[in-house]
Amino acid sequence: MPVAAVLILAAGTFAIRFAGPLLRDRVTLPEKVNELMTASATVLLLALVAVSALTNGKQFGGWALAIGVLVGGLAAWRKLPFVAVIVLAAATTAGLRLLGVA
């Protein structure tokens, strides 16, 4: 991993991040488009949750991971504190792996 590659990836990532707020400022979007933008962030976040909960980037990520995230999701749905959601998810997955569940 040469330093030049790190710097190019860093600059490109910053440009991507900077472009959103900048574009938002330059053009006044109609209310409907604003609604669509807000929805799109939620769509992306849930897709990220689904992919990182159920896959390893290529195929099924294993039951330990999926069940751990499910337990965390149920905890969040039952309005448990956020910290409990994280701890329950990680502990469930770690525990299942300890028991030999893939």
Binding site: M1, P2, A5, V6, I8, L9, A10, G12, T13, F14, I16, R17, F18, G20, P21, L22, L23, R24, D25, E31, K32, L36, M37, T38, A39, S40, A41, T42, V43, L44, L45, L46, A47, L48, V49, A50, V51, S52, A53, T55, Q59, A64, L65, G68, V69, V71, G72, G73, A76, W77, P81, F82, I86, L88, A89, A90, A91, T93, G95, R97
Partner: protein
């Protein structure tokens, strides 16, 4: 800045601290894995400060460690980070107006800070949550990476601690309030199915972007004669 700290309450700070702690441990594993793959200790640290996007950092190091070219690592990292553009479009106004806030705030635009901002009801809290999460994670992530890079392989695999489940669970908890809206929920579920179905066939990052096709089923609210009490 002072108004931001005044808006923060103990619960929000505790939630941010929990995510920051997870990021520190994941960062430590990134540092350890990078050094283990033959990089000098300062390179993962430079990556974490300058790129500050964990997924793309893991992927770039992984590609190069597997014999891929640095160019391939850069392209893959940029594709994975492309989702930050719509994130910025959605929540860009929480950064603040000054040029410095824009530049620094943009660098802190990550999945977690976006999700924390989206989960708040009023704009002042969204702004406070965004900055608290961004700053806390910047420090915890980078400290973790530095410790991991120096401690080397002693830390072991983060999946032993179930940390790979902590990230999606945290994001899910933060996304749940937005999913109460039926139209958003429908679009997000369609998007998640698209992302899952395409994951085996496409490079990482692309399936998540394809999830945006879920917006085709999204219907914006009809012009209402009077605003609903919740909004």
């Amino acid at each position: 800045m002072r108004s931001i700290w005044r808006t923060l309450d103990a619960v929000l700070l505790r939630d941010v601290a929990a995510v920051a702690l997870g990021a520190a441990v994941t960062g430590a594993s990134f540092g350890a894995i990078s050094v283990g793959s033959g990089l000098p200790w300062w390179l993962p640290v430079l990556m974490s400060v300058a790129i500050f996007a964990g997924g793309s950092q893991f992927m770039a190091v992984g590609i190069v460690a597997a014999g891929g070219s640095p160019a391939a690592a850069v392209v893959a990292g940029l594709v994975l980070n492309a989702r930050h553009l719509p994130f910025g479009l959605a929540i860009g106004d929480v950064l603040g107006k000054s040029p410095l806030a824009r530049v620094v705030g943009s660098h802190l635009l990550i999945d977690e800070s976006t999700a924390f901002a989206m989960a708040q009801k009023d704009p002042a809290r969204a702004r406070a949550a965004y900055w608290a999460c961004g700053v806390a994670l910047f420090f915890s992530w980078n400290t973790g990476v530095l410790v991991g890079a120096l401690a080397g392989q002693a830390l072991g695999d983060p999946s032993t601690f179930g940390l790979d489940a902590a990230f999606p669970a945290a994001m899910l908890a933060l996304t749940l309030p937005a999913l109460k809206d039926a139209a958003t929920r429908k679009a997000a579920l369609v998007g998640a199915v698209i992302a899952l179905a395409t994951t085996p066939f496409l490079p990482a990052g692309v399936p998540v972007l394809l999830a945006l096709a879920g917006l085709f089923v999204f219907k914006t609210k009809k012009e209402e004669p009077c605003p609903s009490p919740q909004s």
